[in-house]
C-alpha cells in the first residue's frame, strides 16, 4: 500500500467534517447543497479505500459509482427546488425562507 489505510480514512473523515460544518453554518441553499456533495464524496473516498482491502473489492467500487450517480440526482432535484423558490421569493438564503414555524 503506497498510502496507509489510516491516512485515507482520516482524509475522508476530515472531508466529511468540512462538509458537516458547511451544512450547519451556511445560509445559502446552494452552499448547503455543495456541502452535501462534499459529504457524499467523503463517503466515496471511504468506500474506494475499503474496497482496496476487502474480500469483495467490486462491491465497494460499485457502491461508489452508485453514490456518484445518486449525488448527481439529489443535486439536480435540489437545484430544481431552489430555482422554483427563487422564482417567487427572489432569495436563496435559508434564514429568509422561514414561513413554516412551530
Amino acid at each position: 500500500m503506497i498510502i496507509p489505510l489510516e491516512h485515507v480514512l482520516l482524509f475522508s473523515l476530515i472531508l466529511f467534517a468540512i462538509g458537516m460544518v458547511g451544512v450547519l453554518t451556511r445560509r445559502n441553499a446552494i452552499g448547503i447543497l455543495i456541502s452535501i456533495e462534499l459529504l457524499l464524496n467523503a463517503v466515496n473516498v471511504n468506500l474506494v479505500c475499503f474496497s482496496r482491502v476487502s474480500e469483495d473489492p467490486m462491491a465497494g467500487q460499485m457502491f461508489a459509482f452508485f453514490v456518484i450517480a445518486l449525488a448527481a440526482a439529489a443535486a439536480a432535484v435540489g437545484l430544481a427546488i431552489v430555482v422554483a423558490i427563487y422564482r417567487t421569493r427572489n432569495t436563496v438564503q435559508t434564514d429568509e425562507i422561514q414561513l413554516l414555524k412551530w
Partner: protein, 475 residues
C-alpha cells in the same frame, strides 16, 4: 437466482414500472386528467392481483441477492401498493393539485411504490441505500409539487436538505460497515462484526446508520423536518409520507438490526429505549399546542413512531411482531384520518382545527370515521390501534422495561387529550354553516377500506397476527 429467472417473480414490480412510465406518457394522450389517475389506480390493482397470483411459500433470493422475497417482503409489498393506492384515491379529489403535470405526479407516486417495495426486500447495503434514496428523492419532488404554494416549496427544500444530510450520515456508516466486514450483504455481517477489533467503530457505524433510518421514521432527534414537511405538502402526499416511508423504514431497521447488529444488542437497546421515550414525549407534548390539523397529525405520527420504537427496543420475537402489526394497523388508521382531512378541506378550504367545528352535523359519516380513527390512534379497544399498542406494551413488559411502559402509558393519556380536542370541536361545537359535506366516490372507497381495516383488525386480528408470527424467525 439469475436475472432472467428472477424476472418472473418480479412481475408485479415490472408491471408497476411499465405502468408508471405509461401513466407518465398518458398525460399526452388524455384530455381529462382524471383518467390519468384512474389508470394509475389500475396499475396498482393489476400489481396487487399479480402478487396474489404469484405468492410463494419459500423465501426466494432474486437478482443475485439484491431482492429477498420472503414473507416480510410479501406483507409489505401489498402494504406499499395499498398505501399508494389510497394516496392516489386522495389525489383524485384534492383540488389544489394543478391540472398540469398530472402525468408526472401519478407516475412519481407509482415509482415511489416501486421504491417502497425495494425497501422491504433489500438485504444488501447498496440496495438499502438505493431504495431509501429512491423513495426520498421522489418524496422531495412530491412535497414541492404545488409550485404556486410557497409553503409547499419551502417544505420541499427543508426536506431535501435535512434528508440528504441524514442520508449522507447513513452512507458514511454503511461505508464503515463495509470496511469492517468486507461485504455488503447485511445478513452475513453479524459474525464479522462480532469479532471486530474496534467495537467502538461498529457502534459509530450503527449510530450513523440510525441517523439515516431514524430520519425516515421520524425518530427524535431526526424528526424536525416532519411537522413542516407534513404541513406544507399537498395533503395526499402527506398521507403517503406519514405512512409509507415510515412503515417501510421500520422494516429496513429490523432487517439491518437483526442481520448485522445482533451481537451488539446490549449496546443499542438502551439507546433505542431512550430515543423511544424522547420521541413519543416530544411528539405528544408539542402536539398539544397545535391548531393546524395536518401539523397535529404530524406530531402525532412522530409520537406513534416512538411507540413502535418500543418494540424495536426489546427486539424479541414478540417485539418484532409488535412492530410489524403496529405498522400495518397504523397505516390503516392514519390514512383513514387523512381521507377525512381531504374531504373536509375540500369543502371548508382550510386545515385549521377550528374550521372543523360541528363536522358531526355536516357529515355524520366523516365525523364518525374521524372518531373511530382517533380512538384507534389513542389505543382504545376494540379498534386496531389497541391491538398494536397492546402488543408493544406486552413486548416491553415481558422484558421488564417497566419505566418505558409507564412513560408510554402516560404519553397515551396526553395523546388522548389532544385527539379529543379535535373530537370536541367536531362533535361538541356548532358548525359555522350548515350545508352538508359531500364525500366523493374515490374518498368513499378509501374510507371504506381504512374503516374496515381499523375495525376488523381490532376485533379479529387473528389472520394478521398469524401471518406476522410466521415471518419470524427472520432470515
Amino acid at each position: 437466482m439469475t436475472t432472467v429467472e428472477s424476472l418472473s417473480h418480479f412481475a408485479p414490480e415490472i408491471v408497476l414500472l411499465v405502468g408508471a412510465v405509461g401513466v407518465l406518457f398518458s398525460d399526452l394522450v388524455f384530455r381529462d386528467k382524471r383518467l390519468i389517475g384512474y389508470s394509475a389506480l389500475g396499475v396498482i390493482v393489476v400489481s396487487l392481483i399479480l402478487i396474489k397470483a404469484l405468492s410463494v411459500s419459500e423465501p426466494l433470493s432474486l437478482f443475485g441477492d439484491f431482492f429477498l422475497l420472503d414473507k416480510l417482503t410479501q406483507l409489505f409489498r401489498v402494504a406499499a401498493l395499498a398505501i399508494v393506492g389510497i394516496a392516489i384515491l386522495l389525489s383524485l379529489v384534492y383540488s389544489p393539485l394543478s391540472k398540469l403535470y398530472m402525468g408526472e405526479y401519478y407516475a412519481l407516486l407509482l415509482f415511489s411504490a416501486f421504491g417502497l417495495i425495494l425497501m422491504s426486500a433489500a438485504t444488501n447495503l447498496l440496495m438499502i441505500f438505493l431504495a431509501i434514496e429512491f423513495v426520498s428523492l421522489i418524496s422531495y419532488v412530491l412535497v414541492g409539487f404545488l409550485k404556486a404554494d410557497k409553503f409547499s416549496k419551502e417544505a420541499s427544500l427543508k426536506y431535501l436538505l435535512f434528508g440528504s444530510v441524514c442520508s449522507a450520515f447513513m452512507l458514511y456508516g454503511m461505508s464503515l460497515l463495509y470496511g469492517l466486514t468486507g461485504t455488503l450483504k447485511v445478513t452475513e455481517m453479524s459474525t464479522a462484526l462480532a469479532s471486530a477489533q474496534q467495537p467502538s467503530l461498529v457502534l459509530t457505524a450503527l449510530v450513523m446508520i440510525f441517523a439515516g433510518l431514524g430520519f425516515k421514521i421520524s425518530m427524535a432527534p431526526f424528526h424536525m423536518w416532519a411537522p413542516d414537511v407534513y404541513e406544507g405538502a399537498p395533503t395526499p402526499v402527506t398521507a403517503f409520507l406519514t405512512v409509507g416511508p415510515k412503515a417501510l423504514g421500520f422494516v429496513v431497521l429490523i432487517r439491518v438490526l437483526s442481520g448485522a447488529f445482533t451481537p451488539f444488542f446490549d449496546n443499542w437497546t438502551p439507546l433505542i429505549l431512550v430515543l423511544s421515550m424522547i420521541t413519543m414525549t416530544v411528539g405528544n407534548v408539542i402536539a398539544l399546542s397545535q391548531t393546524n390539523i395536518k401539523r397535529l397529525i404530524a406530531y402525532s405520527s412522530i409520537a406513534q413512531a416512538g411507540y413502535i420504537l418500543m418494540g424495536i427496543a426489546t427486539f424479541t420475537d414478540l417485539g418484532i411482531q409488535a412492530v410489524l402489526v403496529y405498522a400495518v394497523v397504523y397505516a390503516f388508521t392514519n390514512l383513514g384520518l387523512f381521507v377525512v382531512v381531504v374531504a373536509t378541506s375540500e369543502k371548508v378550504g382550510s386545515d385549521e382545527i377550528k374550521d372543523y367545528a360541528g363536522l358531526a352535523r355536516r357529515s355524520p359519516l366523516l365525523a364518525g370515521s374521524m372518531l373511530v380513527f382517533f380512538l384507534s390512534l389513542a389505543g382504545i379497544p376494540p379498534l386496531a390501534g389497541f391491538i398494536g399498542k397492546y402488543l408493544v406494551f406486552a413486548a416491553v413488559i415481558k422484558e421488564g422495561y417497566y419505566v418505558l411502559a409507564v412513560v408510554a402509558a402516560l404519553n397515551s393519556v396526553v395523546a388522548a387529550a389532544y385527539y379529543f380536542k379535535v373530537i370536541k370541536t367536531v362533535y361538541l361545537q356548532p358548525p359555522r354553516d350548515e350545508d352538508a359535506l359531500p364525500c366523493p366516490w374515490p374518498l368513499r372507497i378509501a374510507l371504506g377500506i381504512t374503516l374496515a381495516g381499523t375495525i376488523l383488525l381490532g376485533v379479529m386480528p387473528n389472520d394478521l397476527i398469524e401471518f406476522v408470527q410466521s415471518i419470524l424467525p427472520l432470515s
